[in-house]
């Protein structure tokens, strides 16, 4: 391996930082939109009226996971052209699956007896949802968010292929010119981002989880 410390420092301090903000956006915006779609959808799909579809929707989600990330990124560009927006849409779709999957699994996994007991005490459907189902399924839901965040942070590197900018530009430059320092620097920043997101979500989780459930 042809590694130069000075070139690595240059890559860390000057070549990569301009792409940080773009990459953060490429992760946070799709994640936010995906969560905004997946949570209500998950809640809706576990209501009594739709419950019989839960299994089928789940298998659609599982099948969706077989589409390779590279293909998800690439699929939109022939229709929407090159650029930032197609990349955002593709990443949103990509981020959606783990969140939706875990929301569904989390809500469906709340023990029937607990819901029954809550109803028996006179809680309305809305109260059962907000005071029983959501708090109990939160750990599973958050772990879906974490998985999604980590996967999206990595996959966003591929956005550079379709003109979506981000840290991928640094990494691809490194691959094309055989510059290990560039690859390392880009990877390091993406890793740090993924780690920060993971920690942030853990912190969020610990703040809203009742202490006895930890």
């Amino acid at each position: 391996m042809n590694f130069g410390l000075d070139r690595f420092i240059e890559a860390m301090l000057y070549r990569s930082p301009p792409y940080i903000l773009e990459h953060v956006q490429l992760v946070l915006i799709p994640l936010g939109i995906a969560a905004a779609i997946a949570f209500p959808a998950g809640v809706l799909l576990t209501r009594p009226r739709f419950r019989r579809y839960t299994g089928r929707v789940m298998s659609v989600f599982n099948a969706g996971q077989t589409i390779p990330p590279l293909a998800v990124i690439a699929l939109f560009f022939p229709f929407l052209g090159l650029g930032y927006r197609p990349a955002l849409i593709a990443l949103t779709l990509y981020a959606l699956l783990p969140i939706a999957r875990n929301t569904l699994a989390g809500l469906a996994g709340v023990p029937f007896e607990v819901k029954e007991a809550a109803r028996g005490m006179g809680m309305t459907g809305w109260q059962v949802l907000t005071q029983v189902e959501v708090p109990l399924s939160l750990p599973v839901v958050i772990s879906g968010l974490k998985t999604s965040a980590v996967l999206t942070a990595g996959t966003a590197a591929l956005a550079a292929l379709v003109g979506g900018k981000g840290m991928g530009a640094v990494i691809f430059a490194g691959i094309n010119f055989f510059r290990v320092e560039l690859i390392l620097a880009g990877t390091l920043y993406i890793g740090i981002m993924a780690l920060c997101l993971d920690r942030l979500l853990s912190f969020f989780e610990s703040r809203i989880t009742p202490s006895h459930m930890k």
Partner: protein
Amino acid sequence: METAAGVVKFILDNSGRIAEYAGNHFSLVLTVLAFSLVLWISVGLFISRHDRLAGGVIGLANVLFVIPSISLFGLFVTIPQLGLGRSSAALALILYAMMPLVRSVYRGVKSVDRWVIEAGRGMGMSEMQILFQIQIPMAWPVVFAGIRVAVVMITGMATVATFIGERNLGRLIHHGITRGNAEMIIAGAVVVALMALLLDYAMGLIERKVTSPGLRHGDRDLQ
């Protein structure tokens, strides 16, 4: 519909090339799977017996998993002994498979009801007999969930290896992007997805063969 017809036409017109790419893709996935299963199931079993190592090993697997696939491929290419092509691609994919496999084996073994183990020990089963006759057979459902996640993931990520010289289905997507050819991209995505589904299905069949009917009751759809 126009696109769908275009995709079918593209696949028919290029069946020779697609078959070659699919063959390469499949052999890479199978190679990675074979090595990963032997390596990571052993590691998973090992840390389930040595809990002090578990945190570190699973932490390492998580860190590896955070590295974007394109970076890991790119980094291995720059190592002269590996270079462009199969060994770099295989090594990177094997490392990715560590997280789902090691974690599921560890979890599977650890989730075995302690009273079943207590009963086994109380009847005079040795630690090895408890491992091979109780813990491993009872862990299969959890382990297979991990194997299936890993298979689907490896098949999808293998497409990225096209950037380091693998002539596989990722090439259709890669070239589709550079030429602005939607049919080509979709054809690549569809064939990869089919391959992933096929492998997932095959793993499901093996799971049914391996897992005792005594463990297959109840609703496992949502796990």
